[in-house]
Symmetry: C2
Subunit: 681 residues, 2 copies
Amino acid sequence: MISRHVFGQPIETGAVIMTIPESTQAIAVMNTALGEDGITLSCQMADTDVVYGLGEQVRGMNKRGFSYISYATDDPIHTENKHSLYAGHNFLILSRTNEPSFGIFVDDPGRVVFDVGETKLDQLCITAGSDCTIYIIKGSSLKDIARQFRELIGQSYIAPKWAFGYQQSRWGYSCEADIRKVVDEYHTRGIPLDAVYLDIDYMKDFKDFTVDEEKFPDFSGLVSDMKEKGVHLVPIIDAGVKIEKGYPVYEEGVQNGYFCKDEDGQDFVGAVWPGKSHFPDFLNSRAGEWFGNKYQWLMDQGIDGFWNDMNEPALFYSEKRLKSVMDEILSMKDENLGLHSFYHMKGRIDSLSGNPEDYESFCHNIDGVKVRHDKVHNLYGFYMTKAAADAFERIAPDQRTLMFSRSSYIGMHRYGGIWTGDNASWWSHLLLSIQQMPSLNLCGILYTGSDIGGFGSNATQDLLMRWLEFGIFTPLMRNHAAAGTREQEVYQFDNIEDFRNIIRIRYGLLPYIYSEYMKAVFNNDMYFRPLSFDFPDDAHAASVEDQLMVGESIMIAPVYTQNATGRYVYLPQDMLMVRMKSMENKSCQIMSKGHHYIDIALNELVFFVKKNHMLPLAAIDDSVRSTTDCHFHRPDSDYEWIGFADESAEYMLYDDDGSTKSYTPKDQWIKIVRSAKELSL
Amino acid sequence: MISRHVFGQPIETGAVIMTIPESTQAIAVMNTALGEDGITLSCQMADTDVVYGLGEQVRGMNKRGFSYISYATDDPIHTENKHSLYAGHNFLILSRTNEPSFGIFVDDPGRVVFDVGETKLDQLCITAGSDCTIYIIKGSSLKDIARQFRELIGQSYIAPKWAFGYQQSRWGYSCEADIRKVVDEYHTRGIPLDAVYLDIDYMKDFKDFTVDEEKFPDFSGLVSDMKEKGVHLVPIIDAGVKIEKGYPVYEEGVQNGYFCKDEDGQDFVGAVWPGKSHFPDFLNSRAGEWFGNKYQWLMDQGIDGFWNDMNEPALFYSEKRLKSVMDEILSMKDENLGLHSFYHMKGRIDSLSGNPEDYESFCHNIDGVKVRHDKVHNLYGFYMTKAAADAFERIAPDQRTLMFSRSSYIGMHRYGGIWTGDNASWWSHLLLSIQQMPSLNLCGILYTGSDIGGFGSNATQDLLMRWLEFGIFTPLMRNHAAAGTREQEVYQFDNIEDFRNIIRIRYGLLPYIYSEYMKAVFNNDMYFRPLSFDFPDDAHAASVEDQLMVGESIMIAPVYTQNATGRYVYLPQDMLMVRMKSMENKSCQIMSKGHHYIDIALNELVFFVKKNHMLPLAAIDDSVRSTTDCHFHRPDSDYEWIGFADESAEYMLYDDDGSTKSYTPKDQWIKIVRSAKELSL
């Protein structure tokens, strides 16, 4: 049951698709107070209560013990003291043992603070703006609350099937030869690959909707060559538009008033990759339509996937602030700088980027209504992505176009996925990635994954291998790294056959991953779940922070610490342990409910299958270079079925052509039943 | 067996106290190559080999999988990608299963790189300067190799007994009233306290050996008042000396040529807390003696403990570099700064602090020989601390004076301890602290601990509690936090009785902690050990990264993750589990060898006692306000003995007056024997 509580005069965010009548009653589950800073909602938490949600944030699946601030921020150092990452995902579930659990969605696209027991261990305190809509969701279980929320916010985006293949990226592939080399290196070694990404290097001077013709003399030829090899090229699109006379996107934007305006009504100037830039006013529907249509130029050259970046929006600096900081620093030039003055100077430089005051200094024109940016800050990436998705509907209405974004807000999941931003080659970020997945799913974002191997810092062979062993299960499975870091394509390391074997297992699991993704979409379910969602009566399950349910049959327990040769695993019921070094080298063992220490070699994938469940495994041979070569036939006789059951297990298998929307109806399901003795174990 | 291999003409570092004849043979255990960059030592590692050591560094006890650079650095962000912290601890043990293990100490106080399987998973590669001494240590066991190394480098520093009590610190106690308040708050609540620290706030304009008389009008009165309450005040001493006409330390240093000189023979100018400063040339024995004698001014006012800070030496900037960076920024003032130019500018600002080129730009006068700083960089903190310790010998020869340092090098452990620098209130830093302890012990540093609760960022109640539950076992048990962070004295939180109970357990354990510390000192043993040191034949023990042996009887398994209500523990043998919520609320249970999941409530200390071992527990009542009130009598009848044994257990108990050196002889030992039935369990 969902109740809707309106405070002040909230802006229509587009987060919600259902019409819920406004409640005439007060919020019963939390105390509400209206102060000068806005609305404060608070309640006590019992020791055993768990808080799930908040989407893309730092720390564990249980969010207790810290304060999280929804205010999209471009900060690449995802340490545990950071209050904001790239998104505003204002939904959480308070899972209670003594009282009914409930979900709360704070529909406020400005700054919202969730103090989940940081100030006081036992207090949850949410502070939002005075104009916001609060949805309280009660249900029969955590799964039920999650499903109701998903129904409220609408069906999740469906990516094309090729986007479920393995993908390679690097900021630093700077010319056609670099791209061809990556594909060749993979194919020579028999490692499947479905996409290579074009980071900012492909553009001319970092201008959106341009290609550097010196480095890519025949762009459309390259795109089609690669597609023949089964490899899609996925270019990045940045939010900021370079200020450059004669550059059409700039000229048109200025001419039509499509950019955000500063307090004086001038086009706001902030700097990003190309230097001084303007920022399309995606909240203005005409500006959004205009910008969205620009993607067509790349689609006409064969591009069928994009990633939207820098759309918090990131700001290196605003023109005005840079000037004032520069002046101040220069005035300090001859000072004897000690503790206070030196750190003041450094602080001034650090304050240039993403400064909250800059976000207060420009405005949107929401179809005639002027709104200060900070009030709707978290919508910017959402509406950039919606603008693209709406354009795809016009340009290629039946094509499933890959789209994911860095910044997002609740509701954007209908238009695309996200990646979890600029993480680092840290073991702690592998764990963070594991923990973020169910939180994101809870907020509707199903097409997601982290930069495998880590974006910043230098990856090691073992980190990349362990990360891939988890990444095998994330719908977006992309290896990505920053310029200046160690090269991190799998062929840069030793034991390449281990990498090949693990990546091939991804392709073998695709019938399962694809089916489960579609179930999560159509049933408003979570693809990744904390254990407690499936085992609500198991008190220990609620404390497990490093295992996940993946789809209906699988539980994973990834290794995420360096030099580990195994780990502890908690089985909330008897399960089948599947151990795979390759598609060919596989063994299964029934394990009893309880705590286990499991040896897991570096080149080994281990996962667990729930009792009376099963999963399909497709045969993957040397001919498979991409999802194009995966002939996932029905009838299902080609699949090996893994599982264990008292008598029999059944499975709803999904398939479609993978690329069109018309071929994504609900009747692409087939029910498979296997008797216990027909199952591999 | 120790062999000594000399390359080039090494500088005498003072790390080693034994005379080992130079080996005429090549190093057998590693391949040696002399290149332009210096000496490279390399060898293969088998999958099961473990690398221990390197003292104060990031990452786990097993150092495999990363590169570590010994080059003392003032960097407060201790994330896993940092190659250097504050020290140069060039000793490691390669623990091998198929071949003999060995230890290697690279006696080179310049930059030394340890690539422990980062570049290639299976290769250990050490690169040192071309003038260095290499010691190879072979032995019958890991413990034996560790002991031989400790014999080589000499007996560890012994702190006064009060320094084993609980201590409180904060950058921000800025006046007498602040200090008095801290002590009152603790005493009012019946929480014992042995010391309060004076961070840089106590000085006049951050000048060493001054006290701000406005804020501390009667400093010696305050010191003696506090001492009557059992509380010692411990002031900080910084390496840099403010350039200020008329300030005696500055004037004398200049006059006598005691400061480091730049290339032109001028006193080198770098900035730290007080702004532009000179840096005492501690490697010049006369300068060291002069600076050391300065401590007397504070000792004459009753001070009997110090911490030496900023002695990497930290450099905010050098005068020359600041000018050139400022000029460059000025020249960019009107540029359109984009990706490359903006990050270049930020990079230039970031490069101001601790710039390697600045360390190459000044020199020492090592008793007549001019040596460029970077060649001896890692000795600076060592010799600052030695200068102080040598002075204490002259000023108060029989007094045990507390001394610990931020920067250090092998050998400094003879003169003082260290704290692990500017960590943060991060759960990952609690784990890091656990993992650093045995690595530091291996390098001789016994008096050590981390800033409990974390220095940077905001602590939470649960983090502080869990950190204290580990900190109970570290010889240095100090709660310390940075200015601007949440106040983190235990009385700032709820459930203060839990904090009181846990801190009192520290005092109850003091007979054990003190005895074990002394055993480690006199026997050249490690107080903290990885499990594999005690259980060398247990293959699983070698993989345990989050449990430690503490002294001869105890194994600890601290909780270091948020919201955890327990953890997995591996018992390498049957052990007695001791569960304490307070000195009064205690229970014991015999646990069998193997893997266990153990519930551990937030307010609960759990530790384990080895079979046929025992430990003393002193009674702690409300009268105990500090170690002064702990009457650790012998005969031992006052103690409760905890342990379990087949027939009986014995224990060597140590005690002394805690404050003098003359009363620290080896005959302060008493052997206690208890039959199985006399033991608490």
